[in-house]
Subunit: 215 residues, 3 copies
């Protein structure tokens, strides 16, 4: 692939975008870990603080996204197409939004019992953003296009697993939950958690698109 | 930004696309106002006519979108990338679709009581399309890139507000609504209204992408 | 339109991508037919096998998508923009995913009674993928840009019909279904079927975007 050569020309010049994308994806690891902590706190009254950390990290993510937009306004030369930088930044931001949404809904809807499925999905989100982070960290030197492609495959596989877990959990709700309102509430929370992994897959799609465009 | 200079070259030539985009976004103001009127009519039997106006305006929007596609087929020179014109037209059309969907579902599901939250979301949709219209009207002469960027920030802020209103309203439903079917129905209607503001944010994303691409 | 001339130059060279896209869209016809068969089997115990066929065909679709990605890695010259090949392949894959999701949810949620609305939506999915296949088969020689545009119009019209059927069916559920959990379950299944036609519309959007970009 000629991708490496194209990028090697630009990469030494770019000290703006790659560090910001790396910050954004490291922040996703932090926010996913904060969500994972929240769902593993047994005492509901102590979860508030973990939820607050998720929200603060979501705001930090917003600041990084805003920073990328500012740099796009200032810099004429970018390591890859300007619109792809914009799309990648937005798609990373969406992941943070849905992780925050998950925490926020569990908080707002007073979800007190953290079921094994909630914990499983929170863990899959951590796995997905860890794979995503590996892909993003490789964007910089692009010595290894394969590493990015592998990260995308990994993200897709985690999303697929989350899909199966979600569908099974909803089937169980239909089979065993007799309180309709409790059913809706749990379905909603599980759906938001599952959507967070969908948003990771969207980032993988953007990464793949950048790869094929520049190959 | 070199955006102005690039556009100034093309703008005098374009008498096709900008007027159509302006019509489309003015039509969004009309349709959002029609929805807002509908939810503020106290007598349910009198709402039918307002719902009909929403539908008629949605059809008018379809015609404008179709017109943009026809012009794309006829014109070789376009004020910005052809596929971005297509994407912008589609994204404006999606806003009209979801405003219509909101009205249509309230009508079909026999939602007779217009709660304060429904009114609040309808008003936020008006705010979002007004900001959106400001951005679209500035596309033409692009003397002021900042004005478009500001419109996008405004849209994002309205969408964020709608998100908070929606999440709080659903939390209230879970807390106070004991009739599960009424709960689902209201959640569905609120969700459609909120999605209309999401679609405004998607237009903002397209506008931002066009800006960064041409900067 | 200059589209034909541009494509005629490339088309003779391409023996990779068009056959794969054709396989992908023919596979969508198979999977839509398999779903349609499943919902028309009266004895629930005999549906398992039809569901399994849907799943197998979804896996076959995954293999074709993977093949397209591999070819993108190997080939420098592509019949149209590399990122559009990637987007088109992904959007076709999404259709297969949602057809499979529909079958999978009916299976997992133990939906035993196949209502007229379920059958109607399954038939509309068949109609949508047949129109889609016509558009895809025309991509190869592109003698007739109009044929692709017509296929897109047809897909949009089927999606629109599915929307109306879905909204009416949900309104009926709200009016006549008194068991909230049964209501949620049916709404979910109908929603997934309807989303499959939305995904066909997304493919139509990608096709239109490719047309306008290359016109």
């Amino acid at each position: 692939m000629s991708l490496n050569s194209i990028f090697q020309y630009f990469v030494p010049k770019d000290k703006k975008f790659f560090p910001l994308f790396e910050q954004a994806s490291l922040n996703l690891i932090d926010i996913a870990n904060a969500l994972n902590e929240a769902v593993n706190i047994e005492d509901p009254s102590k979860r508030k603080e973990a939820y607050k950390r998720v929200r603060d990290l979501e705001h930090k993510g917003d600041d990084i996204t805003h920073q990328i937009h500012l740099e796009l306004g200032r810099n004429f030369i970018t390591p890859f197409d300007r619109e792809d930088i914009h799309t990648l930044a937005s798609s990373l931001d969406d992941v943070a939004d849905f992780i925050y949404d998950s925490a926020n809904r569990m908080d707002l809807y007073h979800v007190t019992e953290m079921t094994p499925v909630i914990k499983e999905l929170a863990l899959l989100i951590v796995e997905a953003v860890e794979a995503l982070n590996k892909g993003i960290q490789e964007l910089r030197n692009l010595k290894n296009v394969r590493a990015i492609a592998d990260a995308c495959v990994r993200i897709n596989s985690v999303e697929n697993k989350a899909d199966i877990v979600y569908n099974k959990a909803v089937a169980d709700l239909f089979e065993f939950e007799t309180d309709a309102i409790a059913l809706i509430k749990h379905k909603e929370v599980l759906g938001t958690l599952e959507t967070a992994t969908d948003k990771c897959e969207d980032v993988a799609n953007v990464l793949e698109s950048i790869l094929v465009k520049n190959a």
